[in-house]
Structures are given as structure tokens and as C-alpha cells.
Symmetry: C2
Subunit: 220 residues, 2 copies
DNA sequence: TATTGCTTGTTCTCAAATTCACAAACACGG
DNA sequence: CCGTGTTTGTGAATTTGAGAACAAGCAATA
């Protein structure tokens, strides 16, 4: 019987946010319990997989009934480490950085944007009303900002050629994880988890499956 | 001996864009050949994995020497189906849609944005200079646009609640693949490959590995 | 309290992916 | 033309993940 102290497989970790999202939606619509079949449908995965994934967190379902939506949400959140908010700093206030800054979906999901930095002096001083008027600061202030505000996550939205130096600055400043939109592999200490979101890569993967048309759908 | 006609594993397909990117970068810096070790380093993966992945495309290396950068680039491109350009239509000209529209990285990598649509009449008519002055059109024109311009890829940048109808419209219009930024599971025919990019999901996955600090790095 | 119907949790089997390890193959220098 | 050093391509072993199947367990109801 796996308990929450045991390891959770990587493949499961990647799906937990899907379940979390589905659970939040269920709670919003007033559902109090949910079966693995229903949850699987909402998350777009196999029901057996849902049950196995959830069993890694503990035995939180009730046979014949299903899972309690609120309780399961808490368990998934806890496993993902979504206890309190994790503040985010955005590095690079260009096209993408501005879109991210204005986007409310981060704060809604527990990742408030508390600071924005850029290397361009002409961008420093801009206030973003969507994020409670956070003002763009210079990248040289990064370490001070991270320390004083207890920033946990750094988001890199600089051009590819500046991404490594942005990463170095974030690591030096003491952030605990990094999400990068630059299409380059970063050299980051193993102690700091990081992920990359690369749109061109996504389009190229789609291109493959499109060429092999119909042979496989959405394998993500 | 696997040939290009054989199947390429999903896990390999997901990495081919990484290699492609590294190869383009190598060519830019004037390198003519590259070893699996070097390529692995650039792509951030294991060298044996690189060799096995490439072997699915065919036997294109030279023992004792490595791979010819230009030739391998062509083979990877061909496998991914990156022969000609694939035109893209962006659905939703909000924060994210505008950032995407202004971003040059799409066209650079063979995915020119040839059209943008939105449901909001006040957005219709806006011209985006970064993409050769493409003008935002109404979403009702989607089918006509896709057919007349031979659009291959649809990018969904609408709010979550409109994403399914955007997907339906794209499918109806005849696009061949879909990339969505909305944090919802879409119901799309199996014949049309689609992928989802969800930033909150990425942050939540990072949150897990951060909580289990140091036990595992960047598993993507 | 016994029965019934439903859903979980887990076991088992199969498939996919990763990694190691090394023979085969090639370039090059002497 | 032969030996040497290097790097590929791929078998084989191992790890990881997926999915089917079903016994175990609970609620509800009579
Ligand atoms: N815009 C998009 O839709 C989009 C899509 C996919 C990927 N990306 C990637 O996201 C990144 C940003 O794209 P963009 O379109 O916003 O670029 P951009 O040029 O509009 O903005 C980059 C910003 O980063 C700032 N910057 C540069 N070096 C910096 C440094 N060392 N420290 C701090 N700030 C620095 C610049 O001053 C600028 O404001 C790029 O790597 C791009 O490939 C963007
Ligand atoms: N902005 C970001 O940085 C960001 C980050 C992550 C995810 N997202 C996701 O991307 C999506 C868009 O985000 P955003 O911040 O750009 O939102 P937004 O509200 O700024 O823009 C949405 C746009 O879509 C248009 N639209 C609405 N319904 C439509 C329809 N049926 N057909 C065509 N157009 C329609 C609206 O008129 C609006 O212009 C959302 O799903 C959001 O969750 C955005």
C-alpha cells in the first residue's frame, strides 16, 4: 500500500496537475464526489491509470462511491507541494513577458507574479496594473528582489542568447525552480529543477504526426 | 537495421526537434561534423539515446568521425515532415495571441503566421506589422481563410471557456493539427493531432520537484 | 443483518524506453 | 598497406509505464 512518503513516478507527477484542474472544476460545479471513470474522462486519460496514479498518494477513495472532490483536491495539492503561494519573478518584459505579466491565470493557480525585471533601461519603471501594479525593475536588482520577497520561481522570457545569463542570475539570486521559454538547453545546477516550454518544438512534433496522418493522435 | 519507412517511437519524436535545433546552431557556428557525444551535450540528453534515436531515421553517421551536420539536419527535417512551410492561424488576439503574432520565431522555424482571427469585433481590422501586416479577421471567416490560404496549423489562444468552440471551428475549417494554450482538455477527432501547452501545469510540476528538492532534476 | 451493485486498489502481463557495453567500421598517419 | 584510435550502430539487460482484469470493500436498501 503506497503512502505519501513513497516515491511518485515521474509519469504520474506529470498528470497530477491535470487531475487537480479537473477537481477544481468539479468543485466549482458543485460536485462532491467523483469516480475514476469520470475523472479520467475530464483529464483525457485512461481510468485505470487515474486509479493507479491516485493510489501513489494514498488510499483516499471509497469503493462503490468514488473520491471526495474536496479531500482529493487537498491530497493532490499537498503531493504537488501547492500548499501556499509560490511567488514568481518574470525575467524579460518583451512580447511574451508582457503577456505573461498581464495574464491572471498564474495568480489564480497559486503563482502570483510579484516582480518583473528587464535589462533594457527604457522598460524599467513600467507598471503592470493586472498584477497589482508591479513595476518593472532592472535585472541587476534581481538578487535583492528574490531575497526580500522570497521569490520561489523564475520565469525566463528573454531572447535565446540571453537565456543562460538570465538563468545564472536567477540561480545566483536563489530561486528554487525555473521555467524557461527560450528555445535553448540551459546549464543549471541539478539541485534546481527547471523546465522548458518551446513552441517551435511543439509545432514540429505536431508536424510529424500530421505527416503520419491519423496513425496516432495527441500522444502528450 | 531501421530505415526511415519504419516506425519512429514517440519518445524519439519528442526529442528530434531538440536535435534539429542543436544541428541548426552547429551549422550556424560553422561546424561540419558532430559526434553523438557532442550532440547529446547540446541537447541535454544521454549519448546512447542520441545514437539510438538517430538510428531510427537510418544509418547516417560515419564510425570514427560522427555525423555530417548538414546532411543530418536534412534527415531530421524530413522525418519530422518539415519540408516546406506550414502556415499557421492564431485564434484569439488577446494578451497571448498578440505576443505570438509579434513573435518572429515561428516563421524562422518554418511556421509563418498567415492569419489571425478573433470573436471580438473591436479587434478585427488590427494589422500586425511583425507578420507582414497580417490583419485580424473575424472568427466567422475561419473556414474561408483556412481553405483559401491552405492553413495547416491552428493555434488556440482564447480563454478556456471558448477553447472548445475554437477547436470545433478549426476542425470544421479543415486545419491539420492544433496547438492549444487553453488549460482544458479538448474533444478533437483522433485524425487530427493536437497538443496542449499549459503554463500552470508546468509550474505545478516544478513545484513537486522543488518540494522533493534535489532528489531529481529536470525530468523533461 | 444479509444481499446487491458499484467502484476502488492492486496484481499481473505486456509494451516501451533507457542504458550499457562492445563489435564493427572507418579515417588517418606512418 | 597496416595498425591505431575513435565513434557508430545495435544487441541485450534493466527500468519504467500502460492497461486489463478482478478480488476486496463499502453503501444502500430492504
Ligand atoms: N513572443 C512569443 O510569443 C514567444 C513564443 C515562443 C517563444 N518565445 C521565446 O520567448 C523569449 C522572449 O520572446 P519575446 O518575443 O518576448 O522577445 P522580446 O525581444 O520581445 O523580449 C525580450 C525581452 O528581454 C529583455 N532582455 C534581454 N536580455 C535580458 C537579460 N539578460 N536580462 C533581462 N532581460 C533581458 C529585453 O530587453 C526584452 O525586453 C524568446 O526566447 C523567444 O524565443 C516567445
Ligand atoms: N497570457 C498568457 O500569458 C497566458 C499564459 C498561459 C496560458 N494562457 C491561456 O491562453 C489563453 C488566452 O489568454 P490571454 O491572456 O491571451 O486571454 P485574453 O482574454 O487576453 O484574450 C483572449 C482573446 O480571445 C478572443 N476570443 C474569445 N472567444 C473567442 C472565440 N470563440 N473565437 C475567437 N476568439 C475568441 C477574445 O476576444 C480575446 O481577444 C487562455 O486560455 C489562457 O488561459 C495565457
Amino acid at each position: 500500500m503506497p503512502r505519501s512518503g513513497d516515491v511518485v513516478p515521474d509519469a504520474t507527477v506529470e498528470r497530477l496537475p491535470l487531475y487537480h484542474q479537473a477537481l477544481v472544476e468539479l468543485a466549482r460545479t458543485g460536485e462532491t464526489t467523483v469516480s475514476s471513470v469520470k475523472l479520467a474522462e475530464l483529464a483525457g486519460v485512461n481510468a485505470a491509470k487515474v486509479r493507479k496514479d491516485l493510489s501513489f498518494l494514498g488510499s483516499y477513495g471509497t469503493r462503490g462511491v468514488g473520491y471526495d472532490v474536496d479531500f482529493l483536491t487537498i491530497q493532490v495539492s499537498r503531493t504537488l507541494g501547492l500548499t501556499g503561494d509560490s511567488s514568481v519573478v518574470i525575467v524579460g518584459f518583451g512580447n511574451l513577458g508582457q503577456a505573461l505579466a498581464k495574464y491572471g491565470g498564474f495568480a489564480d493557480r497559486g503563482f502570483p507574479v510579484v516582480a518583473i525585471v528587464d535589462a533594457d533601461p527604457t522598460k524599467v519603471g513600467t507598471a503592470v496594473k493586472e498584477t497589482d501594479g508591479v513595476v518593472v525593475q532592472h535585472v541587476d536588482e534581481l538578487a535583492k528582489i528574490v531575497r526580500s520577497q522570497g521569490v520561489a520561481v523564475g520565469v525566463i522570457a528573454t531572447p535565446a542568447e540571453s537565456a543562460q545569463s538570465a538563468a545564472d542570475a536567477l540561480v545566483g539570486a536563489g530561486v528554487q525552480s525555473i521555467l524557461s521559454f527560450a528555445p535553448v538547453v540551459l546549464d543549471i545546477p541539478e539541485t534546481i529543477p527547471w523546465r522548458k516550454v518551446d513552441l517551435a518544438t511543439e509545432l514540429q512534433i505536431l508536424s510529424f504526426y500530421q505527416a503520419r496522418s491519423g496513425s496516432l493522435q495527441h500522444p502528450a
